[in-house]
């Protein structure tokens, strides 16, 4: 496929605000997980919380959209000159020629939860009777309004693959000529639903998550905002590129992955085919690596089976937690950092790696040139995405 330039990108999470904060944390292997102090009732686990959101109300112009998720979206858009880069693209192409494609699993459900805690009789409290908030589309609707973009606008909510799939959607729209640029990304925020929901599924670790460790005990939940601006390569010839993607379904079970990683293999195959590269060319893969027993054993086998011994690999969920609907976007950002800054993030939280992938798993961060990198996002219901990124000129 014709590659797309990632003209701008940004990430905000428990590691801090913006790419420099993330690169520093990854280089020093300093994670952002802390004991859960978020939920209304106690739940002993670790979370990746973005500091300061409580103090960052949206301004008067956006008061109707105000909620934790949109605050984090706004905060994320202000980092790394991202909003300014989008404005330049909108000016260059026309506001209707820029798409807004967002992934989220929480949307603003935290606002709905809050409303149920202080009901006005049988109704939501008056200050939260805002229909736009009580929808997953709240995020995309807010981002389109805040950036004043008038092109196609859609929310993807496929659990953990949501904000990876939006990269693929953007590529198709740009390739067809429907738009000239796309703002893609994802924002998910801490809320009672995900904390107690995943707890009910017995998938939450009582300790900071340990991706690929033999003694791993489940996920740590995090919140994050990640965004990327995609345009044709002529707009930014030296920028890193989206060179491929693959999407597939496991068709196996709602909450456990295909035991032979069938869907993950299909997604990889498609991503490499679109990129026109062989598996041997992959320098780094950012693994989905949630630290559930099932995901990590299947993914370790996938890594060993499909990628060569020279490929370095890590999960970064030990730093940020599993940011669910935002995971695709912020892990794309960290994969791009690997290319831009020659940094393979170490797989924080792992001391005794799964045997299958031990040779390829980077337990410590490495200074290493990365030309071609992949990012995996495998969602609930067996919804898989694999993104391929490359340094400008590294692939045909």
């Amino acid at each position: 496929m014709p590659a797309l330039a990632v003209c701008a990108h940004t990430a905000t999470s428990a590691l801090g605000r913006g790419l420099d904060a993330h690169a520093a944390a990854l280089a020093r292997m300093r994670g952002g997980l802390a004991a859960n102090d978020f939920s209304q009732q106690p739940l002993a686990c670790f979370i990746g919380r973005v500091a300061g959101l409580e103090d960052e109300a949206l301004g008067d112009a956006w008061a109707d959209w105000d909620c934790r998720n949109n605050r984090l979206a706004w905060l994320g858009l202000q980092q790394d000159g991202f909003a300014a880069a989008v404005e330049a693209a909108a000016t260059a192409h026309g506001r209707a020629r820029v798409a807004v494609l967002m992934g989220t699993s929480t949307g603003s459900i935290g606002a709905t939860e809050e409303a149920y805690r202080r009901l006005d009789g049988a109704r939501l409290p008056a200050d939260l009777r805002r229909p736009a908030l009580h929808s997953l589309h709240s995020l995309a609707g807010f981002v389109a309004a805040a950036l004043d973009l008038h092109g196609p606008c859609l929310t993807v909510s496929t659990a953990c693959s949501s904000s990876a799939k939006v990269f693929a959607m953007a590529e198709r729209m740009i390739r067809l000529g429907l738009v000239d640029a796309a703002v893609v990304g994802g924002v998910d925020t801490l809320c009672e639903s995900v904390l107690f929901g995943f707890n009910a599924l017995e998938l939450v670790s009582p300790e900071p998550c340990r991706p690929f460790d033999a003694a791993r005990r489940g996920i740590s939940i995090g919140e994050a905002a990640g965004f990327a601006l995609l345009e044709r390569v002529g707009r930014a010839p030296a920028a890193p590129r989206l060179v491929g993607y693959g999407e597939s379904s496991d068709a196996h079970h709602m909450s456990t992955p295909h035991p032979q990683g069938l869907g993950a293999a299909l997604a990889l195959h498609d991503a490499l085919a679109r990129a026109g590269v062989h598996a041997d060319a992959v320098d780094y893969v950012n693994l989905h690596g949630t630290a559930t027993p099932a995901n990590d054993s299947v993914e370790a086998a996938w890594l060993a089976r499909h990628l060569p011994a020279r490929t370095r690999a890590s999960s970064t969920k030990g730093y940020t937690g599993h940011t669910l609907g935002a995971a695709g976007a912020i892990e794309a950002a960290m994969t791009l950092l690997a290319i831009e800054r020659g940094l393979v993030p170490g797989n924080l939280g792992c001391d005794a790696p799964e045997t299958a992938c031990a040779a390829q798993l980077a337990l410590a961060s490495e200074a290493r040139r990365v030309d071609v990198a992949l990012s995996n996002s495998f969602g609930f219901g067996g919804n898989n995405a694999c993104l391929a990124f490359a340094r400008a000129g590294a692939t045909a």
């Binding site: 209707a96 149920y116 009777r129 929808s135 997953l136 606008c153 859609l154 002529g234």
Partner: protein, 273 residues
């Protein structure tokens, strides 16, 4: 080098599915839409029981999933294609708002009593998951929303996938009523679902051709049939009914559907004789 702006997409409809109370399938909806005096069948089952799901899932799945899968199965059957080969898009303005009410009420009182099954059924891609499992479909699947403009935005995404990849795609749009205090916020008070199989070229299975034109938003064509108007007023996915009306009729038609607050679609339809 800038691409030449493209503002039109063409797709060929090969299959249509539908379900609403008293309207168990597309044949019933089509007959109703062609007769201004016709109404829903009062004796029809209150919820669908799609054969596409195994019996256990049919019993346990939420009604929103049943409606989506029923419509999907009808459309795929009509197209003659193998469900396992079709990338699929499941669109819903609000997903399962009934489960959201349950979750928020439970979280406000006794969060540790959250049902794990209801939680995993609350994800927006629950129907997509159930469908791909039942159909043994390994192709790409997605679940989308654009709230009030979900139908138009998801139709656009489906057309993009068809045109970009040169392959047929299954599109499903469904919504269910909410419950409790959240119900007031979600604009759907009756259930409805519909589905289309869209293909990149004409074939022996073609039912109609759709030409989609993108432009700045310009309002929405209203449904003509009184019952279609009632459905569209009580369900956000039913805002696609003007398109289904055009597909139920003979000949050609033109209608407008919003794809976002700032983007509109004009759809020119040509139904095969």
């Amino acid at each position: 080098m800038n691409g030449k702006p493209v503002t039109a997409l063409n797709v060929w409809v090969e299959g249509i599915g539908a379900w609403a109370p008293g309207i168990p399938d597309w044949a019933h909806l089509r007959a109703l839409l062609r007769d201004q005096a016709a109404g829903p069948d009062a004796g029809a089952p209150a919820r669908p029981t799609p054969a596409a799901l195994p019996p256990g899932e049919r019993r346990r799945a939420p009604v929103g999933v049943l409606i989506a899968i029923e419509a999907a199965a009808q459309a795929v059957a009509m197209s003659g294609r193998d469900a396992a080969t079709l990338p699929c898009i499941f669109a819903s303005a609000h997903g399962d708002a009934g489960i959201m009410d349950y979750m928020c009420a439970t979280l406000a009182q006794t969060p540790r009593e959250m049902s794990p099954t209801r939680f995993h059924n609350s994800v927006h891609n629950a129907a997509a998951g159930y469908w791909t499992i039942a159909a043994a479909c390994h192709a790409a699947s997605t679940a989308v929303s654009a709230r009030a403009e979900s139908f138009g935005a998801s139709l656009l995404e489906a057309a993009v996938q068809v045109a970009a990849e040169g392959q047929a795609v299954l599109l499903v749009a469904s919504d269910v009523p909410g419950a409790g205090p959240l119900g007031e916020m979600i604009d759907s008070t009756e259930p409805f679902g519909c589905a289309l199989v869209l293909a990149p070229a004409a074939s022996a299975a073609t039912v109609a051709r759709l030409d989609l034109f993108l432009h700045s938003a310009s309002g929405a064509t209203a449904a003509r049939h009184p019952h279609a108007q009632a459905l569209a007023a009580t369900n956000l996915s039913a805002r696609g009914l003007p398109l289904l009306e055009a597909l139920a009729a003979a000949g050609t038609a033109t209608l407008d559907l919003p794809a976002s607050p700032t983007l509109g679609l004009t759809i020119h339809t040509e139904v095969n004789p």
